[in-house]
Symmetry: C2
Subunit: 424 residues, 2 copies
């Protein structure tokens, strides 16, 4: 017997027929003798509808200004998960399972006061453990909690993943199963490289790099939380046949386990190749080289809510000043240039260059910490295909390379192959 938290996203509960399918997944685990708690998102499209109403309501008449109170946003938007939790409880009951819906305020799932993007602060697991002891399947509304002001709070988009992991940590679950519309984490995007393989296991650190790089299987915050509390998190598909053989296998059901690196016995040097398109490169030439100059540049950009990614600093041709190059999402280029022109008198630089249509390709693997030459292999492989490297940044478990956009697919396939990821 194990204790399992199962989480189902919006597409998995989009209508009653799909909720019934979800219930079969739950029933399977219950029938296998496990203690089960379920976390659900709102029905697909519901949250967008509710958010649309909030935006519309917040428009002052005769104005395009859109102001609304985050507390009221939360009251409206949290209703989506409330509905799904009740409906799934009813479907489970109709299947003869002892189930009951619970809202964030009832358990309670305590959050901070940051309405609209709250962080979970405390879940007393004893409430849910009591439900397990009663043989009850608790069906919990994800994405929401109770703020210190005794009002509903929501965790920000995708927050149901975070709810599930936090609940799994609170009840010391053996596993947190995230059911989604993909069946696991792959060595790279299968749409680009059909030889991409599903990873049976991936470490928290690697998953963090993949998630933040746009492999949008799991919310970044939920992976951080899983890492801190060592919650074994399993990514699997809700569209798999609930009653197929092996689905209740405790150790090795179909999907990808995100876990501590200690649990991954045969660690690959490189685990996966991620990419992010539509990057833009901005370069400042001959920046006066004095302390605080980086803060002087990136502070104002952050204030303008521009997400700066790769940063490369190098000495200028003249040997007396510095060159500063960084990337931003293409959509933010105009805004970034405006900010830079504004601060130019203060910062002092000579030339402002920018290039659109870049891509960032990343090689990720916890094994590269103990293996030299991983980066060199990537550079050589790209050079062999005549792919020009615009910038490089590295971390302990990741090498990111900026290239021209049209080469993205070629670069991904090349790197996927050179590290042997297409071989079983």
């Amino acid at each position: 017997m194990a204790r399992i938290v199962m989480k189902f996203g919006g597409t998995s509960v989009a209508d009653i027929a799909r909720i019934r399918n979800v219930a079969r997944h739950v029933k399977r685990e219950v029938d296998a003798g496990h203690e089960v708690a379920v976390v659900v998102s709102a029905m697909a499209g519901k949250t967008n509808e509710l958010v649309g109403w909030v935006h519309d309501a917040g428009k002052a008449e005769g104005s395009n200004l859109n102001i609304y109170d985050a507390r009221e946003y939360d009251a409206v938007v949290a209703s989506g998960e409330q509905v799904t939790s009740g409906l799934l409880a009813i479907v489970l009951q109709a299947m003869g399972i002892h189930a009951r819906s619970w809202q964030g305020w009832q358990i309670p799932i305590r959050t901070d006061n940051a309405h609209g993007a709250a962080r979970i602060q405390e879940i007393d697991g004893s409430f849910l453990i009591k439900r397990f002891q009663e043989g009850q399947v608790a069906v919990i509304a994800g994405f929401q909690g109770l703020a210190p002001d005794n009002r509903l709070s929501t965790l920000g988009r995708g927050g149901s993943d975070t709810s599930a992991v936090a609940i799994a940590a609170a009840v010391k679950a053996d596993r947190c199963d995230i059911y989604t519309d993909v069946d696991g984490v792959y060595t790279t995007d299968p749409r680009i490289e059909p030889k991409a393989r599903r990873l049976p296991k991936v470490s928290f650190e690697e998953m963090l790099e993949m998630a933040s790089l746009g492999a949008k299987v799991l919310q970044v915050r939920s992976v951080e939380l899983a890492m801190v509390h060592k919650v074994r998190t399993f990514v699997r598909s809700s569209f798999d046949d609930p009653d197929a053989p092996g689905m209740s296998d405790l150790l090795n059901p179909p999907g990808t386990l995100i876990c501590d690196e200690d649990e991954i016995v045969e660690q690959q040097v490189v685990t996966g190749i991620a990419y992010a398109k539509d990057e833009a490169q901005i370069s400042l030439r001959r920046v006066a080289d004095r302390p605080g100059v980086a803060a002087g540049i990136f502070g104002p950009l952050a204030e303008a809510n521009i997400n700066v990614d790769m940063i490369v600093q190098n000495i200028s041709e003249d040997g007396k000043s510095t060159d500063m190059t960084f990337t931003v999402p293409s959509g933010d280029v105009a805004k970034a240039l405006a900010v830079l022109e504004r601060i130019r008198p203060e910062v002092g630089f000579d030339v402002l260059q920018h290039d659109d249509g870049m891509s960032k390709v990343s090689v990720i693997g916890i094994g590269m910490r103990s293996h030299a030459g991983v980066a060199a292999t990537a550079f050589q492989a790209l050079a062999d295909k005549a792919i020009n490297i615009r910038a490089i940044t590295t971390s302990e478990i990741k090498i990111s390379i900026l290239i021209d956009g049209p080469y993205t697919e070629l670069a991904v396939r090349t790197l996927h192959s050179v590290y042997g990821l297409d071989k079983h």
Copy 2:
């Protein structure tokens, strides 16, 4: 300065444009210096959608049986009012009004444990009075409360009227304004008698008779509650121009005030003519006349959920037994006859007759308590039009007459005229 509770039904908050119109009504009262709390229903159609999902979810696979837990029904269905309360709060804020949404569980509005048809047990007014003192407009989700099991409860369809009246009682409001899609209570149905006049005032007792007779302006329970707590309740239209002259008049805004009879100075003998179509008359002839026979008939009918209305008992032609005549809604006739055939051996009666297509016409007026001859006037007026009377029942403030359906309109107009209701 007065303290006013304003309630808006589903058609009044059907979309953001209408919610904006509702907000203008609220703003008008706030600008007039009143303390205002608002109670809202779910957007029109929302509750039906949610109930539909619940029914669908409760269907066991391969079965038409429809079983669902009332606690989960409540969790799902209460979300409708939650959404509207948040949206109205946002719209009010966008108009510069200090507003905040509140759910039943936050105030709390305590109910009993009868999920799906709960009754309000206690509202501590101090929470809302504190909001008044802060200059806040509390926007309260109607139709719901917190049950002793710490779960959401709902009051049954139309329960938002009851919420509003209960809240008005708890905060000792000067008035509870029920905004609906009609502009008040009329002397009779204006679709039948164009000369029908809007009543400026009507007593609680009269309103109770009118509501239960199908003048569906207000939920019967809300009128009962208003009567017990002497809540002055004002029925008015949310589709009136919010800023028309007189709309903020404290004593005499356009609409109908439902109040204690003491407040109605010039009491008419007859206040209104109500009617209910599609009644059926069932007669049992020569029922053995012994104690307990009525219970033996109406007990089983009640158990079968058949709503028996007018009951007339008379001695039979043979002088030794009794005739029992009563009415049921036409739709229930088949079910009623089946029940009666089943109990016939036990009860013992000779002939079972039934007639469909009857109507009940009622003359209502608190003044008839002190005026003789009101009934005789009705009978004579109907006789003059050759309208046959099938059965009569009377109470202190009401005379109900069963007639053949095709004469309904003629009877209503005749009675409306004979009591002078069409004259100003």
